[in-house]
């Protein structure tokens, strides 16, 4: 397994829950894939890459307010909504 590939940690970071079978299967498959990436680790590469594309201020948008969806549309496509807001389970540690 590639050094440091901790599937439990990664699954938590990615908000995925995996069965034991999935963990075993994905670990082995990803190990193979990462093994193949050795070419990348060993290649002789140029120094840090600059951005391929730079834009000027003409690409920025003017400060004109545009159309909105409307609370009705927003709550209609939401899987859970109440009083014009989107409902979720109770947030415990609220930093906002």
């Amino acid at each position: 397994m590639a050094e440091g590939f901790d599937i439990d940690h990664l699954a938590r970071l990615a908000r995925l829950s995996l069965t034991a079978e999935e963990k075993a299967l994905y670990s082995s498959q990803l190990s193979q894939i990462l093994g193949h990436f050795q070419a990348l680790a060993q290649a002789d590469l140029p120094a840090a890459v600059g951005d391929a594309r730079v834009v000027g201020e003409a690409a920025l948008r003017s400060d004109e307010p545009g159309p909105v969806l409307g609370a009705e549309a927003v709550t209609r496509i939401a899987p859970g909504a109440r009083d014009g807001q989107i409902s979720v389970p109770r947030v415990v540690d609220d930093e906002s």
Partner: protein
């Protein structure tokens, strides 16, 4: 004759519609009838609303009657891959995660097609979130290669290619991140073009890998492909990575017989099936016989392409797919608990195995302590690959390779070996990494299975690619070919 309409090219259909010998209504009725008899067999479409299609057709015919036809695409159906937003239509990306979603907005390309008078015709099956090369990763249904229903149509735009090869629609849109237009085009014996990165707006294309994704036209001939490309390419201020087309991208200039063809050294040895190698070698010979200069070019960093791609693409994908959490739209798990538990359950229920694999891989290559070794190095490798391609394309007009090393494999054959599948993207991936335009054009068969050749050009050289493709197509019989079903 009504039962031959599905064999006609978009160009020919356009001529008949303009002449008044055909109406869009009649055309669409014929195609819808064929859909009803064929789609179960081929599985190209995940959704088609005949009432909506016929309403569009009637509106098109009315415009034409009052002298307000909008151009060569007026009244012509274009089928849309299910990761491209059309207002009021599903936007599932063939995933359970988005199965409930009906898009409340139009993509830029949908707006362009409407403005061209085209008929927005149904939703096409794909690998879930465009991750895959066989369309086997669709969570909604299977798609089969019309040339051999036991085999894959390719992916991720498998539905887009199969629909063309089965005569279900004359034009389709696909998307291409590592080969997802070109590879299924090759497997299904049709034409697929990935434009220069930034030519076609990504506004409304569900992002897989933002710096690699492009929408592209697919058709049964190079001419039809060009027709569709012209409608799609335009500036869009809603996508900061979209330039809009400089004139040279679309305006044919110069004689195709004067094109200089470069063949990358060693490419025909990389696990390429003998018939594929032979077919593509014959392509090179054809161009040489036409008067094109054919030479060998060096692309020393070719071996870096696949790992570089999979690091960059999965990294961007892991972030792009973060928004799918059951909160604002899409599938929400009924698992109770904290928001973290709800999001985790929704994502775990909504995503298939390939998507989860890539999210995990992408999360890893960006994670603390590993980003330098993987992600940052991959960006540097990408720059190197791009520089090599641009250098090669300074001396030739197009690079010629096979599109895929082997023809379409049997369904299920490679399901347990993701790495194998990744390695098959070897010819198509570099064009995405370097942001270059590339096209796949049919060049023969391996047994009964289509083989395509692959041309890559310098930025905004679509006109040259199309010109070269047209030259080959005119001399061979592969244009408009359809599987007998």
């Amino acid at each position: 004759m009504a039962d031959a309409l599905h064999t006609l090219s978009a160009a020919e259909l356009g001529r008949r519609l303009a002449a008044g010998t055909l109406t869009s209504r009649v055309l669409c009725e014929a195609l819808v009838a064929r859909y009803h008899t064929m789609n179960e067999k081929v599985g190209a479409f995940t959704h088609l609303d005949p009432a909506d299609v016929l309403a569009q057709a009637d509106a098109s015919d009315a415009r034409r009657r009052s002298g307000q036809g909008r151009g060569p695409l007026e009244g012509i159906p274009v089928a849309i891959k299910d990761n491209i937003a059309v207002k009021g239509q599903p936007l599932t990306c063939s995933s359970k995660m988005l199965a409930p979603l009906v898009s409340p907005y139009d993509s830029h390309v949908a707006e362009r097609l409407r403005a061209a008078g085209a008929i927005l015709y149904g939703r096409l099956n794909m690998d879930e979130f465009a991750m895959g090369s066989s369309t086997e990763n669709s969570a909604l249904r299977k798609t089969f290669n019309p040339w051999d229903l036991a085999r894959i149509p390719g992916g991720s735009s498998g539905g887009s290619a199969a629909a063309l090869a089965a005569g279900l629609v004359p034009l389709s849109l696909g998307s291409d991140t590592g080969g997802s237009i070109r590879q299924p085009a090759s497997h299904c014996g049709v034409v697929g073009l990935k434009p220069t990165y930034g030519l076609i707006s990504r506004f409304g294309l569900v992002a897989f890998a933002s710096s690699l994704d492009q929408i592209g036209p697919m058709a049964r001939s190079v001419e039809d492909c060009a027709l569709l490309l012209h409608a799609l390419a335009s500036a869009d201020t809603r996508d900061m990575t979209c330039f809009g087309p400089p004139d040279r991208a679309l305006t044919p200039a110069g004689d195709a017989k004067q094109l200089r063809i470069g063949i990358p050294k060693g490419f025909l040895g990389k696990g390429v099936a003998p018939e594929v190698a032979a077919a593509v070698t014959a392509v090179g010979e054809f161009y040489r016989a036409q008067g094109c200069a054919v030479s060998e070019v060096e692309l020393p960093s070719a071996d870096l392409a696949v790992p570089t791609y999979y690091v960059v693409a999965t990294a961007e994908a892991s972030s792009n797919l973060g928004r799918y959490d059951g909160v604002r739209y899409g599938h929400r798990s009924s698992v109770a608990g904290t928001p973290v538990e709800m999001m985790t359950a929704s994502r775990s229920e909504g995503f298939g195995p390939e998507v989860k694999r890539r999210i995990l891989l992408g999360t890893f290559v960006l994670s603390a302590g590993y980003a330098d070794a993987y992600y940052v190095r991959a960006l540097r490798a990408r720059a190197k690959i791009r520089a090599e391609y641009l250098a090669a394309l300074a001396g030739v007009d197009v690079l010629l390779t096979p599109t895929v090393p082997t023809p379409a494999f049997k369904i299920g054959e490679k399901a347990s070996d993701p790495l194998q599948l990744y390695l098959e993207d070897i010819f198509t991936i570099p064009a995405n990494l370097a942001g270059l335009p590339a096209i796949s054009v049919p060049c023969g068969k391996s047994g009964h299975l289509p083989v395509g050749f692959h041309l890559v050009g310098a930025p905004f050289s679509e006109a040259k690619l199309l010109s070269a493709g047209r030259l080959f197509e005119a001399a061979h019989g592969y244009a408009h070919q359809q599987a007998a079903l």
